[in-house]
């Protein structure tokens, strides 16, 4: 399989990825608690509208509506048996959207976490996790995805299971983790750990980095923490448009298009080559991000103060605190 994303990266300095899927579908009438993936079957016209809005905003890459298309997650909605079909449909709809605009945009098959905890802490075995992801990967491949896109992972083993599934499907892949807990993932994984992890893989991702998390300033600090280790693989930044809040009874995100334009510029200066949004990022945000990336040239790495000034206070102080456990009489 030719890696179209790799080709694009060979020719361009930076690429614009898309924004939110789930939170944008809310604005289109998806009820909270319902599975966004079911709309691939039930409301394909709305999924096409969302995809088209991203294409119109000028993205180079966009993600399919398949984040939760795995058996474990769809089981909640009694839809485990159709997860292959829903994944396939998410990608074939994307193909339809691209063809309609005769766009060259890359279709990235989104693969989010299973939601289960892996062994030994939890009950999900590595083999089972690979099976879940593999089913999803094959569905996305069959529907016409160009690349598979593992995202919002917090556990190293789940990341490894997902990449193994991509390899089994013989597809190029990208992988991002969510560093949402004071600069770590929920499971205590660091940006440095991720650099080491992907650098040691047999089959390397086309891109890797961070998504979601706790707002734009955290994201840029995370990208700085990744690029500090000079990885050879292109870095991805897909940060949320601020944090969720409720306005007049419905959900909004605090990050304005202007803030997200600042974020895009700083993320690129920090070392990211694929830049997009995550939760709360609308096509309006993306247009502004694209505009800024086109108008400004790539600057030098931002300092922490610049990040703070342009994007607001981050939720953690980078590099300040070492993770030191309390002394225990028993632990050596």
């Amino acid at each position: 399989m030719t890696d179209r994303l790799q080709k694009l990266l060979d020719n361009r300095d930076w690429l614009l990825a898309d924004g939110a899927t789930g939170t944008n579908l809310f604005n289109m009438g998806l009820a909270s608690g319902d599975a966004p993936e079911l709309w691939n079957r039930d409301k394909p016209e709305k999924i096409l509208v969302l995809y088209d809005a991203f294409l119109k905003a000028g993205v180079d890459i966009f993600l399919t509506n398949s984040f939760g298309c795995n058996r474990s997650r769809l089981n909640l909605h009694g839809a485990a048996e159709i997860c292959f079909e829903l994944a396939e449909r998410s990608a074939s709809l994307a193909r339809e959207a691209v063809d309609k605009r005769t766009s060259q945009a890359i279709i990235a098959g989104s693969m989010g976490p299973t939601g289960e905890i892996m062994e030994p802490l939890g009950t999900l075995t590595f083999t089972r996790a690979v099976e879940y992801f593999h089913e999803q990967a094959e569905g996305l491949k069959s529907g016409g995805a160009d690349v598979l896109w593992i995202e919002t992972i917090s556990d190293k083993n789940e990341f490894l299971a997902a990449q193994e599934a991509c390899n089994l499907a013989n597809m190029p892949w990208c992988g991002t983790m969510s560093f949402d807990t004071v600069g770590y993932t929920m499971m205590g994984f660091t940006p440095k750990n991720l650099v080491e992890l992907v650098s040691d893989l047999q089959i390397k991702p086309t891109g890797f980095g961070a998504n979601c998390g706790a707002g734009a300033s955290d994201m840029v600090l995370t990208i700085l923490a990744i690029s500090e280790h000079k990885p050879e693989i292109p870095i991805i930044a897909k940060g949320n448009a601020g944090i969720p809040c409720i306005k007049e009874g419905s959900i909004h995100y605090s990050g304005s298009p202007e803030i997200m334009a600042n974020y895009a510029e700083l993320a690129r200066s920090a070392g990211a080559r694929i830049i997009g949004g995550c939760c709360g990022t609308t096509p309006v945000h993306l247009e502004r991000m694209k505009d800024r990336l086109e108008k400004k040239t790539n600057g030098s790495k931002p300092t922490h103060d610049e990040v703070r000034e342009l994007l607001g206070e981050p939720s953690f102080q980078p590099g300040e605190k070492k993770r030191v456990k309390r002394i225990s009489r028993r632990r050596k």
Binding site: G33, L76, I243, C245
Partner: protein
């Protein structure tokens, strides 16, 4: 990441004032068997179950909670600690009921509809139990009906809701709005939590409080119970 442990410490040889801090350490390190052994030793030495619960287990988990909050411990370590506490609780629970230990309050808790994540919710459950609350855990993927049924059947003081996804967190508002419609909102304290939430969000959806982690949830639950208690005294 894997630590090595010294097996030379003989718990039964430690006097009480060394054994209890040792239990705090063992909880911190998530050592299941050692906690079970120490709980049994204290029981043999004539400790009241409630005293073991509060001074050894709850205090130990309080320390774990602080380092979780401060980003020193993460979910894997805290899960191990919580499991060790649970093992200790398993011994104490029937004894607590027999000895008529004080109850802090009652809580119904569950992850909202569409959401499968329960790590945080389980931690809150376990730590509240540890703190003396009776907890009815509804598990994951709860539509509003499940919460209403449990409230009807259990008459809890507190309702806890959890969500990890930005796509499911708005469902908390659906539940709270329904409680308001049914005129039930004033009867119960609603606490919410989960990674994508924040204090503003909690306020905006009409929750009584947002709890950023399990340790905060315990403190907040206690605070609301104390308030309720004071109100009852004031109106008596």
């Amino acid at each position: 990441m894997t630590d090595e442990y010294d097996d030379d410490i003989v718990l039964s040889e430690l006097p009480d004032d060394e054994l209890v801090p040792q239990m705090h350490d063992d909880l911190y390190d998530g050592l299941n068997e050692e906690i079970v052994e120490a709980v049994n030793i204290l029981l043999e030495r004539g400790w009241m179950p409630y005293k073991i619960l509060t001074e050894a287990l709850v205090e130990g988990m309080r320390i774990v909670g602080i380092d979780f909050r401060d980003g020193i411990l993460f979910v894997p370590e805290v899960l191990l600690s919580a499991n060790a506490m649970k093992a200790g609780m398993k011994i104490l629970k029937p004894l607590l009921a027999e000895t008529g230990a004080p109850r802090m309050g009652k809580m119904v808790i569950g992850t909202v509809k569409g959401d499968i994540h329960d790590i945080g919710k389980n931690l809150v459950s376990m730590m509240l139990e540890g703190a003396g609350f009776e907890v009815i855990d509804l598990g994951i993927n709860n539509p509003v009906e499940n919460y209403l049924e449990a409230m009807e059947a259990e008459k809890p003081d507190i309702l806890g809701m959890s969500a990890l996804l930005t796509t499911t967190m708005p469902y908390m508002k659906v539940v709270i709005d329904r409680l308001k419609e049914l005129g039930l909102r004033e009867d119960i304290v609603v606490l919410v939590g989960g990674a994508p939430l924040n204090e503003e969000f909690g306020k905006a959806i009409g929750a009584d409080a947002y709890c950023r982690d399990a340790a905060v949830a315990v403190e907040t639950a206690k605070e609301f119970m104390a308030r309720k208690h004071n109100q009852m005294i004031a109106s008596a």
